[in-house]
């Protein structure tokens, strides 16, 4: 470490899945908040907030001098674009700092109509090379999220992407997506259904990860595999771990990452609060190797909790075929998550127990 050249600290972008989560994250030192309005972002509607709650979060963040980005990163239909632009205009007038979008056609329209509104290009675009970054810069974007794949998040790779004129952003915590974001139709191939829900959008494309975020997460499911030789086994063969790149924060920042993002609008406020607290400390002590290790350990425990909660969500999601379960999900899911978080934090033996149970379920492959 060279103390004469301190690492430039990246900004911390956090999910505002609810007013409560935003308040907690604000207290813990988040710099930027992102949130989507019901029906318009890549989250099942159960985890999205309505316009009123969004405006409350916006007011709160503005009062404390923080930034808020509006998430509009679905792949909309042609006939939905005018309504999407109207919503962006309304929220721009209310004071959002940027819009997160993924459709090149929509990004061009946003820049044409609101040239002073910053555009953050979503992870959905899977921008892996300088040509993509230069294109989005020309389209009017100021910040691009890099794909959630380990090869793309290698500091040596990121160094090659720096200097195109757009800022680089990445997920520090999140799912390590097996397939490229925005280029996976696996869930919709097996399950897509066009339904009308209670949002303003024309249809909810249930089953599509790209169009409504209502992904059935086939990559995390157990399946039966027949190898080319005829051998059959069962397992979670497409499952991968989670991104938890805390120990790489310094080299990533040195390579040119300007914003680090935490995934999890669907997670309980208590958990978001703890992740934000630890990540804030980690960023603030980026040049201090000794304290970093302590925070990394804490954060790794939280990522395990995130995995256990995700597995619970998946179990409920599996029942979402029926409208009864779809409607009841938000009612039982949040209290369940909160209880689990409280137990996890309070009792280390419970933590170990749940983690072992999770590993047993996740890794079983009967050959």
């Amino acid at each position: 470490m060279n103390p004469a050249v301190p690492t430039k600290k990246p900004l911390l972008m956090v999910p505002a899945g609810s007013l409560k989560a935003a308040q907690a994250a604000l207290r813990e030192g988040a710099d930027i908040f992102y949130a989507g309005i019901r029906g318009w972002s890549l989250r099942p509607t159960a985890f999205e907030i309505d316009e009123t709650e969004f405006l409350k979060i916006l007011k709160l963040t503005k009062f404390f001098g923080k930034k808020i980005f509006l998430t509009m990163n679905c792949f909309y239909r042609t006939d939905e674009i005018p309504a999407a632009l109207a919503l962006i205009e309304k929220m721009k007038n209310a004071g959002i700092d940027a819009v997160i979008a993924s459709q090149p056609g929509l990004i061009r329209e946003i820049h044409r109509r609101f040239p002073d509104l910053a555009i953050n290009v979503s992870v959905q675009t899977s921008a892996s090379n300088r040509q993509e970054l230069e294109f989005y810069k020309e389209l009017g974007a100021s910040l691009v999220v890099l794909p959630r794949n380990f090869p793309e998040l290698d500091p040596d790779h990121i160094k090659k992407l720096a200097g195109t004129g757009v800022g680089l952003e990445m997920f520090l915590v999140g799912d390590d997506s097996l397939n490229y974001d925005g280029r996976c139709y696996l869930s919709s191939y097996l399950n897509q259904k066009k339904i009308k829900d209670d949002t303003e959008r024309k249809y909810c494309m249930m089953g599509s990860a790209n169009r409504n975020g209502f992904c059935y997460l086939m990559c995390k499911r157990e399946c039966e595999v027949m190898e080319p030789g005829g051998e059959i086994h069962r397992g979670h063969i497409l499952r991968r771990g989670d991104l938890a790149l805390f120990s790489k924060l310094k080299p990533l920042s040195d390579a040119g990452i300007e914003v680090v993002k935490i995934q999890g609008r669907e997670f309980p406020a208590g958990m978001v609060k703890l992740i934000v607290r630890m990540t804030r400390r980690l960023i603030d002590s980026i040049d201090d190797d000794s304290s970093e290790k302590e925070y990394v350990r804490e954060l790794e425990h939280l990522v395990r909790l995130k995995q256990v909660i995700s597995a619970n969500h998946l179990r409920l999601l599996a029942k979402s075929r029926s409208s009864f379960w779809r409607n009841i999900r938000p009612v039982i899911e949040k209290p369940w998550d909160n209880i689990l978080t409280a137990l996890w934090m309070a009792f280390p033996f419970y933590r170990e127990l749940r983690w072992k149970k999770y590993l047993n379920e996740a890794n079983k492959i009967d050959t």
Binding site: G105, Q131, C184
Partner: protein, 295 residues
């Protein structure tokens, strides 16, 4: 009416089996480890053009989501396409479209199946940037396709037959740690992955393919009537016989200008694909019309 086929390399199919096609889109854009791959190797691209360039319009398919480290190779392929008489190149993103049009303005550029064209706004942007044609995202339905075709000047390419990719990964599924230093070639056969009682996909290297093949034969007259004029056969995992007969049947139906396919033609097409056929999950109102047992 143009009938094109995607072909992984110059060795997979002979010229007679391709005789019903007007255009060949050559290259395996998903994997740098695929041997003699025109998408990643300029020698292979030049070789493919030498083999087929005199008899067909040849389009070289550039990689999907190439990493920065791979761009040098991709630039060499573009250069080779330009110098060896390719009609054009296929790209899978807007960044590569912009770059290809700047580097080789004389080449035609078409947008591939992973270009994320979901709306007429995307198609208009691609057209303004110089793309002549493109394949819309496979999960959009016929109604949306008609809107895009109507509202944008870019020609839409309709994939009419063959299994199609439903996901693409940086990781090789045959080697969970990533791309193997030495390719084992297991992807050539592929694993069959089944979710629940009847939901199958084919996992092959870095790509997951639909198990059932697309067969839009019954819809061709309607598509032609709606103004679609470029049709593609996805030849990626087909054999010589499948390629030849598919081309023969599609050519015969297209040449009859909108009249319905005969029963024998429908039956022969269906018989070509042992995994079964479907009309594409994006043409129905409720997903795969043959799958009831979802989740």
């Amino acid at each position: 009416m143009i009938l094109e086929i995607s072909v992984p390399d110059k060795k997979s199919f002979s010229k007679p089996s391709l005789s019903n096609y007007d255009r060949l889109v050559i290259g395996y854009p998903f994997c740098p480890a695929y041997p003699d791959n025109p998408s990643y190797s300029h020698e292979a691209a030049a070789g493919a053009l030498e083999e087929f360039g005199n008899d067909f319009d040849v389009v070289i398919s550039l990689p999907v989501c190439p990493m920065e480290e791979e761009m040098e190779k991709v630039a060499a392929v573009l250069e080779s396409a330009k110098n060896s008489g390719a009609k054009g190149v296929e790209v899978h993103s807007f960044g590569l479209l912009m770059w290809a049009k700047k580097s080789a303005p004389e080449l035609d550029v078409q947008m591939g199946e992973f270009s994320d064209i979901y709306t007429a706004y995307d198609a208009c942007l691609a057209y303004d940037m110089g793309a002549s044609a493109g394949i819309p995202a496979c999960e959009i339905d016929l109604e949306e396709r008609i809107v895009i075709q109507k509202e944008s000047p870019m020609e839409l390419i309709t994939v009419a037959a063959g299994i199609f990719p439903v996901a693409f990964s940086r990781y090789c599924h045959n080697n969970p740690d990533g791309i193997p230093a030495r390719c084992t070639g297991l992807c050539k056969n592929g694993r069959t992955v089944t979710y629940g009682p009847d939901q199958k996909v084919l996992q092959a290297g870095r790509v997951i393919y639909s198990y059932r093949a697309l067969d839009l034969l019954t819809m061709l007259p309607e598509l032609v009537e709606k103004g679609f004029s470029i049709f593609r056969v996805n030849g990626m995992r087909m054999n010589e016989e499948q390629v030849s007969k598919t081309g023969q049947i599609l050519r015969a139906v297209l040449s009859r200008h909108g009249s319905k396919p005969a029963k024998e033609e429908l039956a022969s097409m269906e018989a070509l694909f042992p995994g079964g056929v479907c009309n594409g999950f994006y043409y129905g109102a409720r997903g795969l019309d043959y799958i009831e047992n979802i989740i």
